[in-house]
Symmetry: C2
Subunit: 440 residues, 2 copies
């Protein structure tokens, strides 16, 4: 589906590789992929590993890609031949998808000959960064919705086709129930949901004609959009059609609100439905919702059964990027790091350990040296690729979703606060501290 | 490159189509694609038409796509057969890519049998919305940079692979000079640029060794990243390497700053370069820049020759989505619209006319009925597809870029203000007003 071209990279990855090649620098390097602190996010949810492992397995420059690089006149024939033969042969440690992680904790570490490891930088940041961004946003929505249904309606506002697929998958991983994105349903097996657009109502002379027509086509799965003209009148039309369906042995599933004051309208519509004898018809709501909107609706106990969330989730509107970086931490056996102000890196190969409290809740993390022991804590990074080969078959998305649900339940609620959550405690292991280079 | 699957759509487009099919509703409809007002944007730049026309030309459900739809158990065999045979046979009017447009002005109008026109909604909004979002953001940067060079460095932070390609193209269309995205270079012929990463410097024992190695590989195209350890010391190392290059008959092209106070550092680095006899070595800067950062740097007259902009441009961080919509405005010969509060639509097929002042500058737009005449004004919507066939071959990206540059020069500077720009005057033609339905 998604491109796996190794040209999906910044030019400098290739020019640096060319310089390494010319200089004969082939020593092994380790790079850490991690996120820097984000002021609006207390926790992050890791997503995107599966796409990355597929990319690494298929990593290969096609002949027309080599031809293009030749046409740039930047590279020698020797180097182009090297690229044409290049396969990823490194080792990869990673947290499982659906893991919760915090700032500065590596979620992936890649060890490979320098050129191979370097060439992955741009793609890894892009793939893990965006997918984790959306999984994180979605998890915040899941927390705010307190068990009410959540439907991903974001596709039209997502930043490209790819983004739509990745967002649908990340939302489902983090606990959404369905997506409207049909291609994501096909590619990832995510359950689909959908209702109708205002244009459907407009295509009929009267609103009730549109409702009746839809019910004829989908007698078991009809949700009526009731706000095209007047929401309360729409609700009364829905009651009428629901009555007609009931006489045929069918059942109207739901009505949907998409504009206006959702809290107030949902109460009035609930009353109309109940008075009509349709306590079982659900109310769906959509329209500019994010975790804060969901929390406000839940705080008012509005009678809304499920939410369609789109725009603000699919682009993570309040925080549309993570400051994710991929930094060399080890080269030719020595720990290395850069010292730019405010952008320091932790040198050396690492492991992330998580302490649980006696109730099994997440208590504290320790970023340690890879070989450091932290008694009683759980190591989160696992070997997933060795010498370029995957060590395990892909996980089913539903398994990852269940794993995330279990992980999320272990994170104490304080750290899930939508605003001003306290920082989750993360310390550095003494072994890691000992391997940091002394600053000049 | 990018997916052209017709499953890249919301489920409801297909369920509505199924209902239309069952009801025998085949009448022609016209849909308008337009953006609603955005508080942070005075003007928009249209981009994405080429991808849309390709999508429409190739619109076809593959057999495995039909099989997937069958497995959802939502659709009848009759309808699935209809989909399998479906091709886009409609007419499309559109503004040229690179056009400036304003809220409520249709940029595309599609007229086709209702099912065909409806099925396009999600993709059209996604494709035109994101590409125009980035072209708009990029144009604001071009305005702020006052002629200094601009390089798209956004790929790693873009929301997926697709987003990276679309962003690179939209930035170039709007006046950027280069991209770091190699695949975008290959796909769209955009000139590439790139420097080096901090990891390159770290791969050598000393910074100057890294600089020398890079210069050996790229004697004509070396830009040195000087902030890995200490920026001013890095500048002195660059002077030393530039001197060595000069002795070999080569020339150091530039140095790059990527952290710290760019205004202050650029002055100090300029002084070091100049004192070293390298007035011709350029200074590039990057690091969290957007149009406001560029404007601040330009206001201080910092000696920076070109800017690498990434993160905040590639996701349009301050405004990560446009409120773009695709609304039915005409059905079976009658103008239609929805009346939801705050979301009203202008009924009927339209034309957008632009008045120029005597100096050729944009003065006022009129949204008119399609067949309405507005003497002395330029019609912006042009027929681009008839009965499903393109009327013109694709434009070259460089032509579109030149056209945008000419368009942008015609927009008076007041409307380009980065904050609180006055609204560009847009009125409704009397013919359009006359065809609006009377509200109940």
């Amino acid at each position: 589906m998604t491109t796996t071209s190794p040209l999906l990279t910044d030019l400098y990855e290739l020019t640096m590789a060319a310089a390494y090649f010319k200089e004969g620098i082939q020593a092994p390097a380790t790079f850490s992929l991690y996120a820097r602190r984000h002021p609006l996010r207390g926790f992050f949810v890791f997503s995107g590993l599966e796409a990355i492992l597929t990319f690494l397995e298929k990593f290969r420059f096609a002949s027309q890609e080599i031809d293009y690089l030749r046409r740039t006149r930047l590279f020698t024939e020797d180097f182009l031949r090297h690229l044409a033969d290049l396969r990823f042969q490194g080792d990869v440690w990673a947290m499982p998808e659906g893991s919760l992680f915090f700032a500065d904790e590596p979620i992936i570490e890649v060890s490979a000959p320098l050129i191979q490891a370097q060439l992955l930088e741009t793609y890894l940041i892009n793939a893990a960064g965006f997918s984790s961004l959306i999984a994180t946003k979605a998890a915040r929505c899941v927390h705010a919705a307190r068990g009410r249904g959540l439907m991903d309606f974001s596709l039209r506002r997502d930043q490209g086709a790819d983004a739509g697929l990745i967002a649908a998958r990340a939302c489902y991983l983090a606990g959404f129930d369905t997506t409207s994105n049909v291609l994501a349903g096909k590619e990832f097996g995510i359950p689909l949901s959908g209702t109708m657009a205002h244009s459907f109502v407009l295509a009929f002379a009267r609103e009730i004609d549109a409702f009746r027509a839809y019910a004829r086509s989908f007698p078991q799965r009809t949700t009526l959009l009731i706000d095209t003209y007047d929401t309360l009148q729409g609700a009364r039309h829905a009651v009428q059609v629901a009555g007609e369906m009931r006489q045929r042995g069918e059942a109207l599933q739901a009505v949907r609100l998409d504009s206006g004051d959702l809290i107030d309208l949902s109460r009035q519509v609930r009353a109309i439905l109940d008075q009509g004898g349709f306590e079982g018809v659900k109310i769906l709501a959509s329209g500019g919702l994010d975790e804060h909107g969901l929390a406000a609706i839940m705080a008012q106990e509005a009678p809304i059964d499920a939410f369609g969330v789109g725009t603000k989730i699919g682009v993570s509107a309040d925080a549309p990027f993570l400051d994710m970086v991929y930094k060399m931490v080890c080269f030719d056996g020595r720990p290395v790091c850069k010292h730019s102000p405010g952008k320091a890196t932790l040198a050396g190969e690492k492991q992330v350990y998580r302490h649980l409290d006696p109730e099994g809740r997440y208590q504290e993390d320790v970023i340690a040296a890879r070989r450091e022991q932290v008694p009683g804590a759980i190591p989160l990074l696992q070997p997933v690729m060795q010498a370029g080969r995957r060590l395990h078959p892909p996980d089913e998305l539903d398994q990852l979703r269940q794993a995330f649900r279990a992980n999320f339940a272990r994170l104490p609620d304080a750290f899930k606060a939508l605003t001003q959550a306290p920082p989750f405690p993360v310390t550095l292991g003494p072994g890691l501290q000992a391997q940091q280079p002394v600053l000049p």
